[in-house]
């Protein structure tokens, strides 16, 4: 049993229906902050369990679960002559396979035969009358949440309770600061889920003996005598003494503390805490029964090597389960396999498997780092090599008050010759991208190569920048004609021999000498240009690329 698809509508940041297809085993959601990764996990967990933040959602229902824009559009419309219907949240969870016929039917937003459950938060039919009166009175500034109800149905239009949902989820959030001290809640997890009745009673008895010994200790007896003497003067002649709380059956649990190597749990490193929390959560009875494990940003507070350890743990513990991990760590994504990657961006989801198979192969081979950079930045500038990267960065700084592009979430990525592969991903996730490429003396070839992105085929947000002018000259290096149409000669052309000599600290080299020098000392020259305090002039196609 596994989740094959989730459709979220009007829940938090997802206003329009957001559809996410899931694999049987591992699924990794990557995306920038604020793209809704955690919301997806929260929505799935909510629809399957009725729990939000570990509490029954029904009691915590508030307008903040609704999409902000739709709530405000609704509230604004109430004062006009065209009031909108009250917004509804819907989360549909579709289940793969055909062993749950009870949940099959065509009652879902796809209108096709599916197996699954639909979770809805909507105006309760029984309150329609009250709602109408309420709206008529006017002056409504908040969603009338008291008239809403939470409701689960199967695709066969059967009302069900969350207990009846056959697919169980466990949400593990190692970063949560929900509890005062992480230890109390985890120790009670251990006690409740890993100890049997006999062990538990043994622990309770030992605790009681400890209490008895405490009361009988001479210093405590002494203290009690003092207290009693003080209170005796009062009108009510009753004994007052210091004792230990025995009021609730489980009170003793609170006085336990987990410690790691003699250090109390909440005093150990945050990283260690998250590993232990995650491990405990995976061992939890509920996780063992669960069919899907939802794991939120496991990389929090962890070094690469500890993360590695944790990932291996997750992998081993959950080999037969469906796992959904949200992350912005390229390491997590890379380690767990790019084929499981789901990119969430601009309320859209893309899988690498949706890309042409050759591109998919390519990205599976390269380290995931660059892929994720493209996914996580706001805008990407793709360049051929490291030197181009430095020059483009400098150009960006010069026209943006000295800010590095990355400070504006613009990432300059050097991709060698694989421009087209990156463009295919960018196109899928609507990511603005500029390509900075040499024309190598053959603008026709460039036009042919990028034919899918130029002229009539141009795509919004995707810019192909190259110099339309072809420069020529007689220089030969090692009997081969010099290529005047790469970035360095273009840069020399726009800044002049004199300036470049000054920047590079080369003395009175001629143009040809500079060409030769810059070709032989690419990185050095790029660094010097990057760091120089001189005013620089950049070729137009570079300026086009960094333009916002």
């Amino acid at each position: 049993m596994y989740i094959s698809k989730v459709i979220i509508k009007n829940f938090k940041s997802f206003r329009e229906p957001f559809c996410l297809n899931l694999n049987k085993g591992l699924n990794i959601i990557v995306g920038n902050n604020g793209t809704g990764k955690s919301t997806i996990l929260e929505a799935i967990h909510l629809a399957l369990s009725g729990l939000s933040n570990g509490r029954y959602f029904k009691n915590d229902l508030s307008e903040y679960f609704f999409n902000y824009d739709s709530v405000h559009e609704y509230l604004d419309s109430l004062d006009t002559n065209k009031p909108l219907p009250p917004p509804e949240i819907s989360i549909e969870v579709f289940i793969g396979g055909n062993d749950l016929p009870f949940f099959e039917g065509d009652d879902n937003s796809t209108k096709r035969s599916e197996c699954g459950i639909c979770f809805k938060i909507a105006l309760a039919e029984k309150f329609r009358g009250e709602y109408n009166d309420y709206v008529k009175d006017g002056g409504i500034a908040a969603l009338p949440i008291e008239f809403y109800e939470v409701d689960w149905t199967t695709c066969a239009r059967e009302s069900i309770t969350p207990r009846k949902i056959p697919i169980k989820s466990a949400l593990i959030d190692s970063s949560s600061n929900r509890y005062k001290n992480g230890s109390d809640v985890y120790i009670s997890h251990i006690i409740k889920n890993h100890l049997d009745e006999k062990d538990r009673n043994g622990l309770a008895h030992a605790h009681r003996r400890l209490q008895a010994a405490f009361i009988q200790d001479t210093s405590v007896v002494n203290v009690n005598n003092i207290i009693n003497g003080l209170a005796k003067d009062e009108v009510n002649n009753k004994n007052i003494k210091l004792t230990v709380d025995l009021s609730s059956k489980d009170a003793w649990e609170a006085s336990f503390l987990t410690s790691v190597e003699d250090i109390p749990f909440h005093h150990i490193g945050k990283g260690e805490q998250s590993i232990i929390k995650t491990k405990l959560a995976l061992e939890h009875k509920k996780s063992k029964e669960a069919n899907i494990i939802l794991l939120e940003e496991p990389e929090n507070h962890l070094s690469h090597s500890r993360l590695n350890q944790l990932i291996r743990n997750i992998h081993d513990k959950c080999s037969d389960k469906q796992i959904l991990i949200s992350t912005h760590s390229s390491f997590v994504a890379n380690k767990l396999g790019l084929e499981n990657l789901i990119i969430v961006e601009n309320r859209k989801s893309v899988r690498l498997k949706d890309l042409p198979s050759t591109t998919q192969d390519f990205f599976e081979k390269i380290p995931g780092y660059d892929t994720l950079r493209l996914i996580l930045c706001k805008k990407a500038i793709l360049v051929e090599g490291d030197c181009d990267e430095l020059l483009v960065q400098r150009a960006y700084m010069d026209s943006n008050g000295g800010r590095l592009p990355i400070q504006d979430q613009v990432d300059v990525i050097s991709v060698g010759t694989s421009f087209l592969r990156f463009l295919q991903i960018a196109e899928k996730i609507n990511k603005p991208v500029s390509v900075v490429t040499d024309n190598d003396g053959k603008p026709d070839a460039i036009q042919a190569k990028y034919a899918d992105y130029l002229g009539v085929n141009s795509k919004p947000g995707i810019k192909i920048c190259y110099d339309v002018n072809v420069d020529v000259g007689d220089l030969k290096i090692a009997d081969k004609p010099f290529n005047y149409n790469t970035l360095e000669p273009k840069f020399l052309k726009s800044n002049g021999v004199e300036n470049i000599n000054r920047i590079l600290g080369t003395k009175n080299k001629t143009e040809d000498q500079l060409h030769e020098y810059m070709k032989a000392n690419k990185t050095d020259c790029a660094l010097k240009i990057f760091e120089t305090k001189e005013k620089l002039t950049f070729p137009q196609y570079i300026l086009d690329a960094i333009e916002k």
């Binding site: 055909n98 016929p101 099959e104 065509d106 009652d107 035969s113 066969a156 239009r157």
Partner: protein, 389 residues
């Protein structure tokens, strides 16, 4: 799973039909079982029987009424294939539903499915008419290319339909779909005990009034076998009651009392069908303490004929209707009536099915109230008098 087997078991009154069904269902250890029946009273009876026999209803067994079953598994899952709106449930109707107007000849003209889909199937409150339920289900199945039955096959391995004589029209069409599916379908019913009709439809008109046996023979002989022996003996009624009640259905096999020792170990000496004059009623009731059955307006602890189906009492006292009293004298089951165009038609002289139900409630004795004690009566009736007894 054993090889697929559909059967119709024709039962006699008091043959232990419910007990049989419950025992059959309990035999199923692998797979899910649905037991469905027309009336809520019988649904309760089946549930009660489970507690009597088994102490609980196993998790793999579902008991629900025919309408509730059709609504849950026939209509709801794939209603979207033929209808886009919201269905608010079912509206129970007795006569034909979805009537457009009544013409000058007094004939009701219904909304047609083709022209007025919504009004044909639904009431103004968006409820599906009970008599169109099965029709809607069959249509859902056709439109969804068999998804309704396909889904059902994976939910239930066995379907038992109790009181099958109450089904008619498109219900039968739906039964045909079940026969052709992977589901083992068992139908149980007593054609003599039709007291309700789910439909007043033209479809399969010939097979109404409990003629389910003929339907199977004509339409589904290949898919379904007929068993008239398993439940052919009455564990309840004695020989006198069996033979007197069988007179009401001369075309069917007479029911015979079960002759096992357990069934016949009674020490009752007052056995048979008796006539009691109205003046003797009190004396009779004091002596034998019978359960009183009336045609209508019974107040507890008395019963209406129609409501006591499935129940058994040691002795009953029946207040007959006028037409029943007439039958007891002349023995005629049908009467001739002229219809509007002047043709002579044969109609039942009285509500035979209900009278049959009333008679067959008793284990030992049936007493029928009569006003004219001195008259001649049909065979099988013994005149009882407080003086002569």
């Amino acid at each position: 799973m054993p090889s697929k087997n559909n059967k119709l078991i024709i039962s006699a009154a008091g043959s232990g039909k419910t007990t049989y069904l419950v025992r059959e269902a309990l035999k199923v250890s692998h797979g899910n079982v649905l037991i469905t029946t027309y009336t809520e009273a019988n649904e309760q009876e089946i549930k009660k029987k489970f507690y009597d026999i088994n102490g609980s209803i196993p998790i793999n067994i579902t008991i629900q009424t025919w309408f509730s079953f059709l609504l849950q598994h026939g209509v709801r899952p794939y209603q979207g294939t033929i209808f886009d709106g919201h269905i608010k449930g079912m509206l129970l109707v007795n006569g034909a539903s979805g009537i457009n107007y009544v013409n000058k000849q007094g004939i009701s003209v219904p909304f047609t499915e083709e022209k007025d889909f919504q009004k044909h199937y639904f009431s103004k409150s968006d409820k599906l008419y009970s008599d169109k339920l099965a029709k809607f289900v069959v249509k859902c199945n056709t439109q969804s290319k068999g998804k309704v039955v396909d889904r059902l096959e994976r939910i239930y391995n066995y379907v038992f339909v109790d009181e099958v004589q109450d089904l008619a029209g498109n219900d039968l069409e739906f039964l045909k779909l079940l026969f052709k599916s992977k589901i083992n379908t068992t139908l149980v019913g007593d054609p003599r005990q039709v007291t309700y009709l789910t439909h007043n439809e033209k479809k399969y008109h010939n097979y109404k009034d409990g003629n389910i046996k003929q339907f199977i023979l004509d339409k589904c002989a290949k898919e379904c076998t007929i068993d008239e022996t398993t439940l052919g003996r009455s564990h309840r009624n004695n020989a006198e009651i069996c033979s007197f009640s069988s007179k009401l259905y001369p075309l069917l096999e007479p029911s015979i009392p079960c002759d096992c020792i357990e069934c016949r170990s009674s020490s009752s000496t007052h056995n048979g069908v008796f006539l009691v004059s109205s003046g003797d009623i009190d004396a009779y009731r004091v002596k034998y303490n019978p359960v009183v059955l009336r045609h209508q307006l019974a107040i507890e602890p008395e019963w209406n004929y129609g409501n006591c189906k499935g129940l058994g009492f040691d002795r009953v006292l029946i207040y007959p209707t006028e037409t029943i009293s007439k039958y007891l004298c002349d023995g005629r089951l049908s009467k001739e009536v002229k219809d509007k165009s002047g043709n002579i038609k044969h109609k039942n002289a009285f509500d035979i099915a209900k009278f049959y139900v009333a008679l067959t409630r008793a284990r030992y004795s049936v007493a029928i109230v009569c006003n004219n004690f001195s008259q001649e009566y049909i065979d099988g009736l013994i005149k009882w008098s407080s003086k002569g007894d």
